[in-house]
Symmetry: C2
Subunit: 348 residues, 2 copies
């Protein structure tokens, strides 16, 4: 064994008195090679502890077998689950995943895209940051012939595939559920409405109200950041209204939690007096003493599907870009924070 473990096909070729080309062919299971030579090569390779140098291979082939994933934050359950999905699906195909986070800054996002590109990734998966308002860096990815796939937070760019959930439906489902629990004055803690996902959740909410003969009151809509503090603040503002709501559909689990904590201080009973639903199925929602109803975005599935779309596109022999838009169905998870069915039984 050589000192530093750098065994190359040349070392094997010397040992076997064949050419490096032959070794390469044998290793790659090229059909036009005698089975004797192949076996000889494999044996020698194993014995000498040969490992292919993926860097050289990548340089030669133009395919690095690396992909980049860019997300706002890596330590959000939603995003880390998506990454896990991508990794599980792509790993068996020999791909590695390089992870970057933008902290919601477009400048960082642009930089990450650039570094990933000169690292020669074969494709980029991304969820755009809140502040992204340009598309030059996305077009550059396409210009370099790399596959670009958006998940969850997307922009509509020709040639770019995307995997998202139906946020409209999610908002609709959650709101309809609150209505079914007897709530009449349903508020909404919205996210940044410039982001498509939050806009859609909002629209789903509004439509569910209308379809059920309820009026959407602008006073009932509060813009929030996705944090406990922001949720608490919104709850306080909400409670200053003359006509107080009897439910809230929150576009984030964190704001839902903040609201619950704040409303409890006011002596409000949940779900008796007030129902609430969050969004994202963050792990903590399940663990609370009052488990929080929420929307599951099935991030693992989202990641796996995004990876499948990538695999389809990256190997496509055709030159034309296929564009695939996948929309997943969200799943409503009903928990105690909005479930009055058990209560009714008790009352009867």
């Amino acid at each position: 064994m050589k000192e530093n473990g750098k065994v190359t096909i040349y070392d094997i070729s010397k040992k076997l008195n064949v050419s490096a080309a032959t070794v390469s062919r044998a290793l790659n299971n090229n059909p036009k090679i005698s089975s004797k030579t192949r076996e000889l090569v494999f044996a020698a390779a194993k014995e000498m502890n040969y490992k292919q140098n993926r860097l050289a291979q990548a340089l030669k082939s133009g395919k690095s077998k690396n992909v980049g994933v860019i997300v706002p934050y890596i330590n959000r359950n939603f995003f880390s689950s998506i990454i896990r999905g991508i990794e599980e699906e792509l790993g068996p195909h020999g791909y590695h995943v390089i992870i970057c986070q933008t902290h919601e800054q477009m400048a960082t996002e642009v930089e990450q895209v650039n570094t990933l590109l000169n690292t020669q990734v074969d494709g980029i998966f991304m969820s755009i940051s809140k502040t992204t308002n340009k598309t030059d860096h996305f077009r550059k990815v396409l210009n370099e012939g790399k596959t670009l796939i958006f998940f969850d937070r997307k922009l509509d760019i020709p040639g770019v595939s995307s995997v998202v959930i139906d946020d409209f439906k999610a908002g609709y489902l959650a709101t309809e559920h609150l209505i079914s629990q007897g709530c009449k004055r349903i508020a909404h803690f919205a996210g940044d409405l410039n982001l498509e996902i939050y806009k859609n959740r909002h629209d789903g909410y509004v439509n569910a109200l209308k379809d059920n003969g309820l009026k959407a009151d602008p006073d009932y809509i509060f813009t929030t950041l996705s944090s406990v503090e922001s949720g608490a603040a919104a709850a306080r503002k909400m409670w200053e209204l003359k006509k107080k709501p009897d439910a809230v559909f929150s576009a984030s689990d964190y704001t839902a939690l903040g609201a619950i904590q704040e409303l409890r201080k006011f002596g409000i009973r949940i779900p008796e007096d007030f129902c609430i639903s969050g969004f994202s199925n963050e792990p903590f929602t399940k663990y609370m003493e009052l488990p929080i109803s929420t929307i599951d975005q099935t991030p693992l599935r989202m990641g796996k599907i995004a990876a499948q779309v990538f695999l389809e596109q990256v190997d496509s022999t055709q030159k034309l870009t296929i564009e695939k838009k996948v929309v997943l169905s969200p799943e409503l998870v009903v928990r105690n924070s909005s479930d009055r069915s058990l209560l009714k039984v008790a009352v009867q």
Copy 2:
């Protein structure tokens, strides 16, 4: 601009009628180059939208500027925070992070190490899986001259640096805290004692008891997995004892949560009748209506320090391997699940 964005130094050299070597030198700020040429090259590079091909560079230099991180699970807050710390520290130095998970399987771990090695990473950060009982794959990393760094879950291998927290101290601190709250019969929900970290937490617990004149009762030690269900089961078993404990130091936040849920069913008041402390400062512990006391392992810091150790070693001109063992201090986070100080005031 060329079609596919593949602008090389040759394209620049042709345009400027200089050699590729000159372009390379200019781009790398090699001192022996005239400032005129340098500027010319930079201007042309920008104009032609040239981007260095890191693959070629890596092949030439033997440094890929990629590192691998191997963890049991990526979607545990503790691990994703460490990864974030590594990424934040290494990013500015031009490194990319490739993430792998083992799902606690040694076979997967070995495989991951091998693929990372032939991807030519410059170093590997890892937390070993529960089932790891061989060290061949670690030695291979060292044989290939790559830097290996353990964090949290380590093995003692000559030449390998590690960054861990003082789990003994953590166990000691938590137990001592429970004692300070007046608890006399303190149980322990242990993890797999074959893993150093859990062994140390256990030992810290035992020593704190002894140092405070309490006896460590073997009946009070329950082996658990890190899950809510396992914690609930342990709590049930614990409550079958004649002499019931009045506190538990749990080596996991999940088991602590399971115990709380179960004990509440028995009508136990926490912290009045029973105190409990978890481990890891998982996000949910803070959000509970009864916030759970826990140990913060400062994972972000752990990741950053691991990265710093890597940077020191990877650039070390000396051939000899430096071995650095960093032990961080854990931080006890006291919350309601074990804080009787407020109660006492109320009682007085």
